[in-house]
């Protein structure tokens, strides 16, 4: 018995030790030394990105075309930006993912944690074509553009005779009580809404308090904040009149039969992108760069525009059916956000909002 026990304990200790935080081992550096050999025989690469539309596009359309051209198979791992970042961080010493696609603020975070490789511009042939408003820096390449703005149900607005929304502050109105579908602060669109409310009331990244104060009023007229866009769709289909979402989600609402229109409030809406990063220490850097290049070719971007993302290259346009709903005009106040600044303050203010604003939910909605 005793011996059995000591064996078990020994095993446990060994496993614990294995779970610890190993320093980058020598093997890793060896591998990067022999990069050219391993790259020559790259047969497949793994991409992590959002599920849903993006997954479908990459897995069903772009991956087969890429394989035809380069002979490399694409594996796809779906997850939210945060989930992907967690995965990449966990596999730091032995990356299983070659390309990680994040929302821009999360990409900045990944870079700060040292989880991205620099991408050489000359390896991305389509680079000059990319609209620079989407660019962050040399650690990522934007692939799917979007904005986060206000969407409203045109039928309900017409029926009730409500005036059009033109400011972020217009979201706070007793008219909309119980008919809102605003996102939770834990999502990218939720935090963007928070920041926009702060900006619209004299604040900004260095002063988020005005956003908190306005947020409390907003919460009082709302039943809930929605944690993800999957939940927003049924809400908008069944009577919610106004939402704040990524442009592609608003277009998705239109595809689902909701009479919806996106507005860019006068204080502005951020232009963001889902950006591709090459995961630090991947053995397949060349193949990863090839795929990223493949994603910014005109053909791929055309397909990306057809699933309602803004093309990130200058010469591709949004299809007409989406342009009328989520398209923005030359003089619309879209801006390029300070992603590094956002990444710095996001955790602290997300928690503050959760603790102080969320409890105000529904206080002014008749139960």
């Amino acid at each position: 018995m005793k011996r059995m026990f000591s064996v078990i304990i020994l095993l446990m200790v060994m496993m614990l030790a294995a779970c610890g935080v190993p320093n980058p081992s020598k093997e890793t550096s060896k591998q990067s030394g022999t990069k050219s050999d391993s790259q020559a025989e790259t047969k497949e690469i793994t991409i992590a990105a959002n599920g849903g539309k993006i997954e479908k596009l990459i897995r069903d359309e772009l991956a087969p075309k890429f394989k035809e051209k380069y002979g490399i198979t694409i594996n796809f791992v779906a997850g939210s930006s945060n989930e992907i970042l967690t995965k990449v961080q966990l596999q730091k010493n032995n990356p299983q993912i070659d390309i990680a696609m994040y929302d821009s603020p999360v990409a900045v975070r990944a870079e700060e944690e040292g989880l991205t490789e620099a991408i050489a511009k000359e390896n991305i042939k389509g680079f000059e074509n990319i609209d620079e408003r989407y660019l962050i820096d040399e650690h990522s390449v934007p692939v799917l553009g979007y904005s986060v703005a206000v969407g409203y149900n045109t039928d309900i607005f017409k029926e009730k005779g409500w005036k059009a929304i033109s400011s972020w502050n217009d979201l706070i109105s007793s008219d909309y009580k119980g008919m809102t579908a605003f996102p939770d602060v834990s999502s990218n669109s939720g935090f963007t809404m928070f920041l926009s409310l702060a900006k619209a009331n004299g604040g900004g990244l260095d002063n988020m308090q005005p956003g908190m104060d306005k947020g409390k009023e907003l919460a009082a007229y709302s039943d809930t904040f929605y944690k993800n866009s999957t939940q927003i769709q049924p809400a908008m289909q069944q009577g919610a009149a106004v939402t704040v979402q990524a442009s592609y989600t608003i277009a998705g609402l239109s595809d689902a039969g909701v009479p919806v229109q996106m507005v860019i409030p006068k204080e502005g809406a951020p232009l963001q992108a889902i950006v591709a990063t090459v995961v630090k220490n991947t053995k397949n850097k060349k193949a990863a760069e090839d795929f990223i290049d493949f994603m910014v070719t005109g053909d791929s971007q055309k397909r990306i525009a057809e699933i309602a993302f803004y093309p990130v290259v200058k010469d591709v346009k949004l299809p007409e059916k989406y342009d009328s709903i989520i398209g923005f005009k030359e003089n619309d106040p879209v801006y390029k956000p300070d992603f590094a600044g956002i990444a710095k303050i996001q955790p602290e203010w997300t928690e503050k909002w959760t603790k102080e604003v969320t409890p105000e939910l529904g206080k002014k909605v008749k139960k």
């Binding site: 945060n82 119980g178 997300t350």
Partner: protein, 310 residues
């Protein structure tokens, strides 16, 4: 026969040769049991105990961000939890929701279990299948179904409003009520099956004797059947309570941002705020609170109804 059964291990040990025959027998019994259990033990060790220990170790690290290589060890995470009213309120909400779910499951479950116990073997089989059927559907699908039904101005609201039963939407979703409905629905089978099992074990002659002695059916139920089924009831309560305490999907879908129970807070700390070590500490607090409440609860019952639990 017995001499043939020695393993080489035992032969080599001088102590064993001196031991009495019965002791050897007992040891062999243990060895056999251990060998039989070994695959399971190893499995649990590798995939449960070790990760849990690792999480426990993480919970004592204080760090901002993802990189734990330059962190310091302290009980700071635990102190933060207990000094912040937001987390304490969340803990209380988790317990409240779980207790409600237990009560609903008990009220709905007992009659079903009783029916199962009283019916023929064939009917009992069908009933068991029916009771267990929610478990055949993925928890995500089931809760999303509830979500679509209960969403403000959704199917249920519109139906009730058309019938004139209610005049404004019910708002069951995004509320404690919604979460309780979802949890009770998810865990009802566990309540029913554990109560039913203890009902099956009651000797029917006891109930017969009670009625021969002149007790009404209600009295028989209250003084014979109910007390004898208590072990099952306690088991059911413990199961439903602990599963409700740790459930994530149902509160996330049915309660959303409005019902931030601890598992949701943990997910947010880890996945949105990237505070892994604080999330680990909360996990252990949740585990501790669940274990303590369950232990106290079952001790009280066992002490109060000593005869039944013996």
């Amino acid at each position: 026969m017995e001499n043939l059964g020695y393993s080489p291990d035992q032969k080599m040990s001088p102590n064993l040769k001196l031991a009495s025959k019965s002791k050897v027998k007992e040891l062999r019994k243990y060895t056999a049991a251990l060998l039989l259990l070994a695959p399971l033990l190893l499995f649990i060790l590798a995939f449960f105990v070790v990760p849990m220990l690792y999480v426990f170790y993480l919970s004592f690290i204080e760090v901002e961000g993802l990189d734990i290589s330059n962190a310091s060890y302290s009980i700071g995470n635990y102190l933060t939890f207990f000094s912040d009213s937001y987390f304490l309120r969340s803990l209380w909400m988790t317990m409240k929701v779980s207790i409600y779910a237990v009560i609903i499951a008990l009220i709905l479950g007992y009659p079903i279990a009783l029916t199962m116990a009283k019916s023929s073997a064939k009917v009992r089989g069908y009933l068991t299948l029916l009771v267990a059927s929610p478990l055949l559907i993925s928890v995500v699908v089931r809760n999303f179904g509830w979500y679509l039904l209960l969403v403000p101005n959704g199917v249920v609201d519109q139906f009730l409003m058309k019938l004139g039963i209610i005049d404004s939407p019910l708002k069951l979703l995004f509320s404690v009520e919604g979460v309780v409905i979802g949890l009770a629905n998810s865990f009802l089978p566990f309540m029913v099956l554990s109560i039913a099992t203890s009902l099956y074990n009651i000797d029917p002659s006891l109930e017969k004797a009670s009625s021969i002695l002149g007790a009404s059916p209600l009295k028989t139920f209250l003084t014979v059947t109910l007390p004898l089924s208590l072990p099952g009831v306690v088991a059911g309560i413990v199961l439903v309570f602990s599963m409700s305490m740790s459930s994530y999907v149902t509160p996330a879908l049915m309660g959303g941002a409005n019902v931030p129970v601890l598992p949701i807070v943990i997910y947010e700390q880890i996945n949105t705020l990237f505070r892994w070590t604080f999330g680990s500490a909360i996990s252990y607090i949740l585990l501790g609170v669940t274990l303590i409440s369950v232990t106290i609860f079952s001790r009280i019952f066992e002490r109060k109804f000593k005869e039944v639990f013996r």
